[in-house]
């Protein structure tokens, strides 16, 4: 087996969580890489939906934006954006919503809006996009995010997307119909909500990973499951598929566009 980077391991672990036939609402970046890797390896019939309205898309390279032309060309169909959010997401037809964020707290709530106070932010982030309603309505959400004490924080600066809110069943008492963040994939291991409190708990480590390293990267006192799973390292096929996808993507995105006039 070849050497691999923590980013590669994280993307591969995320892709493994997806199953063949699963209907997946895909965020851009790491989620998109993981979803397409799944499609190109163990889940050829996964249904990928991007919020641009492309349903069942099968791009050959990763899109840079959520609305690159190849997403439309390879889609089963392209619908207006309001329909994606009403007929497909709000209707509860999405199995997995795959999200990133700038900050996450111990109950899986996400911030992608601001660092610092909203009215006078230290860093203005891009904002909500589709995330609040993906977080509310997908049957479950997966979050993929590198672990640092600045991203895994005790208290969000702003709650953009609901996870389990204050935990202990608070989410279940809202009108959100989806199941919430069932899986958080980081570069130091995998976290899942505890059944009672919904607090995110370390449940699996990568090869060579340690609980100490995980604790150092998480900004709250991290709970650890009793039986920690060991995540298998990437297979040669997984690594080769991911690297080929990334190479094709880099080549495509650096190509200058020539206007036809």
């Amino acid at each position: 087996m070849s050497a691999y980077t923590p980013d590669e391991m994280m993307t591969i672990a995320a892709s493994r969580a997806l199953w063949n036939g699963c209907v997946c609402f895909v965020g851009i970046g790491l989620p998109s890489a993981a979803c397409n890797l799944a499609r190109l390896s163990h889940a050829p019939d996964i249904v990928l939906i991007y919020e641009s309205g492309t349903i069942g898309t099968r791009p050959d390279v990763l899109p840079l934006s959520i609305g690159d032309g190849e997403l439309a060309e390879t889609a089963a169909c392209v619908v207006p954006l309001p329909e994606i959010f009403t007929y497909y997401l709000q209707s509860g037809r999405i199995d997995v919503g795959f999200l990133g964020a700038a900050q996450i707290d111990r109950f899986g709530n996400l911030n992608s809006t601001v660092i610092g106070p909203y009215e006078k932010p230290k860093t203005r982030l891009p904002g909500a996009g589709g995330a609040p309603e993906i977080g509310a309505h997908a049957k479950e959400t997966f979050v993929v995010l590198k672990a640092t004490p600045r991203s895994f924080v005790p208290r969000l600066d702003f709650c953009t997307t609901p996870g389990y809110l204050g935990g202990h069943g608070e989410r279940a008492r809202t009108t959100a119909r989806g199941g919430g963040p069932r899986l958080v994939i980081t570069d130091v291991g995998v976290l899942r909500p505890s059944p009672e409190s919904q607090e995110l708990t370390l449940t699996a480590l990568y090869e060579g990973g340690t609980v100490e390293a995980a604790r150092a990267a998480i900004g709250w006192p991290l709970a650890v499951a009793e039986n920690l799973e060991q995540i298998a390292p990437p297979t040669d096929t997984e690594l080769a598929t991911l690297r080929a996808l990334n190479a094709r993507t880099r080549a495509a995105h650096s190509q200058p566009v020539r206007l036809p006039f």
Partner: protein
């Protein structure tokens, strides 16, 4: 009376300072040429509306054209920040920017309500988020059947919506193909609708269920080949992803941004000259 105008005429006749403007296009068909023409004509105090501000609003905001922004995701897609948007919000440069912030689902509901001339849109949304705390426009109604509270957003009815599309016929019927985002809703929600197009043809092919804006909802059409660049027009040219990545460097600092805008937008007479100025640069 033909609806066919030059882009310069269309903006001069139909867009005024202080108006609410929506330049829509979700990644695809973003009306960049129209954005540049607004900058050239020095429009001010605009209330800009777009789901994804993208580079086109980064430019308008950085050039001081905007008083307020209604939006739901303000990044450079797949690249990172919109530095001019951030500078306006974080530092008030070149002037402060009032934010009306939504989620995509909320914006989609607001445009749909606007196109339907309903006073508000309805969604099961904003549950558990801090957005209603910073946007007092996000409210709720009680379902008269279940008693459940549902989120509401006020309808968006821009004074002018500007779109880019692949083609129009001489009557002003406009046809769009590919990712259509919330363009149709934004178009039908507006009081006036300006569309720039890649091609003007004698007659559109039979449309059947394709996306068409009939001529009688269109205020003006301008023939602007390449009018979506560096965004794209499906069937005509691809998105210039490399340019979106370069924008990160251009827009990060105020002076490099101003220099680029002066050279490529303010110093060029129209979109053809803008596109030519980019080729020169590469040479």
């Amino acid at each position: 009376m033909s609806k066919l105008l030059s882009l310069k005429e269309a903006i001069a006749q139909h867009v005024q300072d202080g108006q609410m403007l929506a330049l829509e296009g979700f990644t695809h068909l973003i009306p960049f040429a129209a954005g540049h023409e607004l900058i050239r004509q020095g429009r001010r105090e605009l209330h800009l509306v777009r789901m994804t501000p993208d580079l086109v609003y980064d430019q308008l905001i950085g050039m001081g054209c905007a008083r307020a922004l209604t939006f739901s995701w303000g990044g450079n897609p797949g690249v990172g920040s919109l530095y001019r948007l951030r500078d306006a919000v974080e530092k008030g440069w070149p002037r402060p920017l009032e934010l009306h912030e939504h989620s995509h689902a909320g914006m989609a509901a607001a445009y749909t309500a606007g196109a339907s001339r309903m006073p508000f849109g309805l969604l099961r949304g904003y549950i558990g988020t801090d957005l209603p705390g910073v946007n007092p426009d996000i409210r709720s109604v009680t379902c008269p059947y279940t008693g459940e509270a549902l989120a509401t957003v006020p309808a968006l009815n821009p004074d002018v919506t500007i779109l880019h599309a692949q083609r129009a016929d001489r009557q002003g019927n406009v046809s769009l193909t590919g990712i259509v985002g919330a363009q149709r809703e934004a178009a039908l929600a507006a009081r006036k609708l300006i569309v720039t197009v890649e091609e003007v043809v004698d007659a559109l092919p039979p449309a059947m269920n394709a996306v068409v804006l009939p001529h009688w909802v269109v205020t003006a059409v301008a023939h602007v080949p390449g009018g979506a660049y560096p965004s794209y027009a499906h069937g005509h040219y691809a998105r210039d992803n490399a340019f979106y990545q370069r924008w990160d460097d251009i827009a990060r600092e105020r002076d490099t941004f101003r220099a680029w805008m002066e050279k490529h937008v303010l110093a060029t007479a129209d979109h053809a000259a803008f596109l030519a100025s980019l080729v020169e640069k590469a040479a």
